[in-house]
Amino acid sequence: MITAERKPIDEIREMIAPFKKVLALGCGSCVAECASGGEKETAMLASALRMAAKMDREDVQISEMTIDRQCVNEFVIQLDDVIDKYDAILSLGCGAGVQAVADMFPEVPVIPALNTEFMGETKGQGLWVESCLGCGDCMLYYFAGVCPLARCSKQLLNGPCGGSMNGKCEVNPEVPCAWQLIIDRLSGFGALDRLEMIYPPKDWSKKQGTGPRKIVREDQQR
């Protein structure tokens, strides 16, 4: 999932200041799971913004709405019925959601309320951890399901570095050493020989450097 965190309220207020009618738009997918942009968080932010506006005697109308996914046009189109009532949309979606909404409604300013952070997993209640860089060339098979690019502080493809202590990273002792995890897991199912290969430097052209990436699947198209 994509994780995000709310921007400071002052920053949000500055961005919405020119507008009189604002729709705070939540997203019920990833950002709901990471408790930054779901229905609850949208209601909280809208309430706080309305209170702040009242205190400053600003004549602003802030409404709220949450759609299932801001990054999928079939859901964004639900805004068609309400969009005319607003001067701007304050999106609590990830960066992809903000842009999908902006693409569909080019005449309406779409303002991000969140800072999009990383692709990760929910490790526990209130804890999300980065686990994928979206490199475009997944090597998790070789590394027993632990990505050294996302989880090793030094991004070593031919680790370990030798600096870990008690299974923790020497760069950040709060972080488990990814290479310790890789070796433990490979040992667990007798596949340590996968580490006899020398892995060449990553081909980052599959991730970036050629503009926005896209996936085309004809079998999914009309």
Binding site: I9, K40, M44, S47, A48, R50, M51, A52, K54, M55
Partner: protein
């Protein structure tokens, strides 16, 4: 006899807190009249920051929660969660320039439980120094 308070209080309380039944609720409403709005909840862990924020936004000068005593939550950690959510709500209202004291929590002690009435009295005491909410002030 209705005791007029300067501030209006939204009071969310765990229905398992000591002496917090329907009779006590009615007695409190009679005592404080329009100065109090009571919201019994099955567990204080059900409370969300948005409940407190909406109360402040719509009618209250302060919004508090009374939990069951420490270590006596029938759902084990409801009152612990309520504490964290109160803290979170405080940080949000601080961000918009409201006094964090407008949001609060009262957790009783298992050994010396206090009634809803006693705790409500303490809360009114605690918030007596607050000016009327600037959010509500704009409605008047």
């Amino acid at each position: 006899m209705v005791e007029k308070q300067k501030n209006t209080l939204a009071l969310f309380y765990c229905q398992n807190a000591p002496e917090s039944g329907e009779i006590e609720r009615q007695a409190l409403e009679k005592e404080y009249g329009r100065s109090i709005r009571l919201f019994p909840i099955p567990c204080s862990g059900r409370l969300e920051p948005v409940h407190l924020l909406k109360a402040l936004e719509e009618f209250a000068d302060a919004a508090y929660v009374i939990t069951c005593p420490e270590g006596a939550c029938r759902y084990f950690e409801g009152n612990q969660r309520a504490k964290k959510r109160v803290q979170m709500t405080r940080s949000i209202i601080s961000e918009i320039g409201l006094e964090p004291e407008r949001i609060g929590i009262k957790v009783g002690l298992k050994e010396a439980p206090k009634s809803l009435k006693e705790l409500a009295g303490e809360i009114f005491e605690d918030i007596s120094g607050l000016r009327p909410s600037p959010v509500r002030g704009c409605d008047q």
